[in-house]
């Protein structure tokens, strides 16, 4: 049974969220000017995609208390659908990404119906098993190109006008997608629906006794989480112009857990910070080979032992306000 161990980021009381608006402003502002202060736009786009992925994942673990070890299936599926529809079916970019998101949502519905029935470690194991089955399917299916992946995916034109081959234009498009997804998650958390989710996390039997059909709520959260992960995956495939097996494989599921854990489970901004840190680390340690794995493992260990609140969680505790 999932206990209240993930309630670390939960606010004790709902104070005025001005500080959260400020934090949002800082985050959006930083991302908006990043290309102008010399940060490589393609790197930032990768950060944004993973930040969205981590936020979507966090929705499930931080607010519903369900640790999914199979989220790679959403990222991977959306990546393949987006790449295939843009390259082979000739969809315009926006439609390709939307299709990918919709597919991921449907996948979330199907797998969610199966996985929601269990909790805690069993939930994690089911999601892992389902993700592995989907991975093996992609490994063999001809349309994915197997180990080669789908290559040379066209960036297309935004609204038929703006040429997305230009990294700067693409960057702001991705930023817009990220902010939209982020705001959607924020609204969800701070809505009555979000409150019910938190109630389920804290004490599911009580929520049931109050008349809530908790399974439906959990399923909706799962589908939403899957859909937004799909949005991240579909966008990423267009940014890098390829979709590969890496995104559907189980180490990717482990990475998103790491990002969220490092940033702070159950916090609003934690996954963004976590994603930024991990992607940056992978980028700059790329020449050191297997040290990346070692460092990631060390971060896991340190976070679990000493730093369970994560970066934003600690910050939040410091200023005594939920972040």
């Amino acid at each position: 049974m999932a206990t209240a161990a993930y309630s670390i980021g939960a606010p004790a009381k709902q104070t005025s969220p001005t500080h959260q608006y400020v934090a949002f402003g800082i985050m959006a502002g930083f991302f908006a000017i990043a290309p102008f202060i010399g940060i490589y736009p393609v790197f930032m786009m990768k950060v944004l995609c993973f930040a969205l992925f981590a936020c979507a994942f966090n929705l499930l673990i931080g607010y519903v208390g369900l640790l999914s070890f199979g989220h790679a299936m959403f990222l991977g599926t959306a990546g393949y659908i987006s790449a295939h529809s843009a390259k082979v079916w000739g969809f315009p970019t926006e439609l390709a990404i939307l299709t990918a998101t919709a597919t991921a949502a449907s996948l979330g519905l199907v797998t969610g119906c199966l996985a929601i029935r269990r909790q805690g470690i069993y939930f994690a194991m089911i999601t892992l098993a389902l993700a592995q089955m989907i991975f093996f399917f992609y490994l063999q299916a001809p349309f994915t190109g197997g180990e080669d992946g789908i290559q040379a995916v066209p960036r297309g034109k935004l609204l038929g006008v703006f040429d997305l081959e230009n990294d700067m234009i693409m960057y702001y498009f991705v930023l817009a997608i990220f902010l939209a997804g982020f705001l959607l998650i924020y609204r969800t958390i701070h809505s009555p629906f979000g409150q019910v989710l938190k109630a389920i996390r804290e004490n599911e039997p009580r929520a049931i006794s109050l008349g809530y059909k908790t399974d439906h709520y959990k399923l909706m959260a799962f589908v939403l989480s899957g859909a937004l992960s799909g949005l991240a995956g579909g966008t990423k495939a267009i940014v890098f112009q390829l979709a590969s097996l890496t995104d559907a494989n189980w180490p990717m599921s482990g990475e998103v857990v790491l990002m969220t854990l490092l940033g702070g489970l159950g916090t609003v901004f934690g996954p963004v910070v976590g994603a930024f840190t991990i992607v940056a680390m992978q980028n700059y340690l790329a020449q050191f080979g297997a040290w990346v794995t070692v460092v990631q493992g060390a971060i896991f260990v340190v976070c679990v032992l000493l730093f369970r609140r994560g970066i934003i969680g600690e910050l939040s505790k410091l200023i005594n306000r939920p972040l």
């Binding site: 180990e147 890496t246 980028n283 020449q287």
Partner: protein, 404 residues
Amino acid sequence: MKAIRTIGIAAAATLAAGVANAQISDDVVRIGVLSDMSSLYADIGGPGSVAAARMAVEDSGIEKNGIKVEVIGADHQNKPDVGASVARQWYDVEKVDVILDTPNSAVALAVNQVTREKNKVFINSGAASSDLTGKQCSPNTVHWTYDTWMLANGTGSAIVKTGGDTWFFLTSDYAFGHALERDTEAVVVKNGGKVLGKVRHPLNTQDFSSFLLQAQASKAKIIGLANAGGDTINSIKQAAEFGIVQAGQNLAGLLVFLSDVHSLGLKTAQGLILTESWYWDLNDQTRAFAKKFAPKNGGKYPTMVQAGVYAGTLHYLKAVQALKSDTDGSKVVAKMKETPTDDPLFGKGTIRQDGRKVHPAYLFEVKKPNESKGPYDYYKVRATIPADQAFRPVDQGQCSLVKG
């Protein structure tokens, strides 16, 4: 053994303005060796490839002519997105002019795309996909060393001609394995052989006993291993355990490198037949290279991939010197194709219109333990396939660069 230079911090660089055409961009020729530094292909390419590139820069004497050269390396971790990101960052920010090596076909194809977009140069030595000079050929890419067609043809036809005319395939169930199986089967049948059966195993299988049993039951003379890396090593190791070679069947490794044989040990690998396009013990020049190379690579002798990086770098630098410029990738590659190659490792050869470097291929057999006289003395030559027959005919690849 880290022979890798650190990549400068990317955040500080701004995108450069246009560069005049008849000059060396930035006044430095920057060579990026993008390889698998930490996993499956690290011993086949990896840090050894970086060392090979450095040796080539030294041996080319280009710095005496006043042109500065810099070599950097990075790990693509066998992930196409990491490979594509590093390639983009290298081209956009670090001003790398040429990328070398890149084992792993998925990464290579991705880098091939990026290189064409940015009009730089890509000299691939490590990847197997024959699409690099076929459907995805590019005026900016040269494919050195080997490809699946060469492997299939070399091993397939040479074995059938020497009596191995019934085959059973043990295939890795993914695109590369299927391609290798399909190409080899075509060659076997063309040369009058028969394929008695095939079995597909999942990628990264640990236990092959069940598949080997089926191979034994087929009674085929040759068991073709259409897989790579750990799967090949496991198949061979377990085949030895089940006494397959003793019972009279022979194993044909369709993609085996010197480093794989080293991992297996001669006792297990003896009798294995494979095709490579280079071996350190072929002649005096290759031996001299190996002796110089090994201390720079932790005592490990060069594989054909690393040799390809050396030779490719040499030829690239020759072209840059002749043009006195490295800015326009497709022009440099055109110059490389114009100029016949001549290096101490592969001897004389040419680069075709589709980017394919042509040189002879060799059918090797792994020696028995008592036939080996020293470290890495693993192969004996069973047959030599001349350069004009070793690679797919230039008009069969569906490459758009090939006219007529």
